[in-house]
Point group: C2
Chain length 205, copies 2
DNA sequence: CATCTTTGCTGAGTAAGCTCATATTTGAGT
DNA sequence: ACTCAAATATGAGCTTACTCAGCAAAGATG
């Protein structure tokens, strides 16, 4: 077996692996740009392939469906929002407001481009959970729930199990409020308010 | 103006209207049968048109999309389940169990054919709310929330607004539990239990 | 370097939901 | 009964996500 030169890190990286990585990056960049510009529904997979300078079929070796491609693109944004929210929540003493500190950045990032945000949610719930980018997205929602549960556990009267269940409910509230067509034209603040009203009733009884 | 013979009821019903009505019924019947047999994803609109003995394009004069067609078919089942649940709830004194009396038939009817049930939910949340069958479906979810709110208002310590908000939260919990891929293979009882666990935490604190 | 195997790429082809120009049917006016 | 306008039906054709049989590149072997 030919031993491939090992760069500083120690991973064996052949041309094959490098090519693949580079292509994935081109695809991600192309998809991100086009989706952001015109919305996922107004972009064809052909356009993305052209912009990434690969064959139309190659695209589907890197993301099994167009939806997976959106997950790939949006996951990193979601991850950033979650990190922001977790940091914010630590500095907020009030229970409800701490939860909302986590909620707000997520809603904001989801609403940057409403159609993409809603399609992203749709993919998370109805897409194929076996796919890698979907798994990443699912992990993010789990982490979001954990962050919320952590905040709720500050309250001594809320046990670990109860906190987890409550966090799961908050997650459901977020999903429906962000996805509901009735909120399609509403600005971020309105959606956040709608969520806050429900979370308040949920946790302060 | 030619006055059309008015049958007993007094509505003027020309051949035009009758033909349309009859076609809609043929379409509904064909779609219902095929969807139930093989699942919405395994049936083509062409097949439905053939079975209903109409042209492929005609189908889309009666339902703008395939999803609308599913709403058309499933709405009546949902309506029955809701009626059942409302009746059941009246006979159950316990608060939580009364809510679950409404939840259970809805989950049962939604799970009769899992794929169709999930697609139905997807259409409700992400479909075009302008379309008639979608409006009907939305109305049913509103009625479900109202039924749940009514049960909750039995408790003197819960005001009308709070009951409505809680019912809305129950609705979100139901949606996510029924739609989540993680529950795809789970039997009705498991899903109902998952919902019950959350509703218990929600209302009995 | 020559050969072989494995992995990855390609784009023409397929399928299916939906559209739209054209044709047909209905009903009103005369 | 004849004519005209409006409503409705039709299916060939379009779009687009996705597939697959064949091809190319990378890496292993001697």
């Amino acid at each position: 077996m030919r031993v491939v030169v090992m760069a500083g890190g120690g991973q064996r990286v052949g041309r094959r692996e490098r090519n693949k990585q580079e292509k994935l990056e081109r695809i991600t960049a192309a998809a991100r740009e086009l989706f952001a510009e015109r919305g996922v529904d107004e972009v064809t997979t052909q356009e993305i392939a052209d912009k990434a300078d690969i064959g139309a079929g190659t695209l589907f070796l890197y993301a099994k469906t167009k939806g997976e491609l959106l997950l790939l693109v949006q996951n990193s944004t979601y991850a950033e929002a979650l990190a922001q929210g977790k940091a914010d929540a630590e500095r907020v003493p009030d229970e409800l407001e701490a939860v909302m500190s986590i909620v707000r950045p997520v809603v904001e990032c989801n609403r940057k481009q409403v159609d993409n945000g809603r399609t992203y949610l749709r993919e998370i719930v109805f897409g194929d959970p076996q796919e890698p980018h979907h798994r990443d997205a699912l992990l993010l929602t789990v982490q979001t729930e954990q962050a919320i549960a952590e905040v709720l556990r500050r309250n001594d009267r809320i046990g670990a199990d109860e906190a987890a269940t409550l966090a799961h409910i908050v997650s459901a509230i977020m999903f429906v409020s962000m996805a509901a067509t009735i909120n399609l034209a509403n600005p971020v603040d309105d959606v956040v308010r709608e969520i806050r009203d429900q979370v308040r009733v949920l946790i302060s009884r």
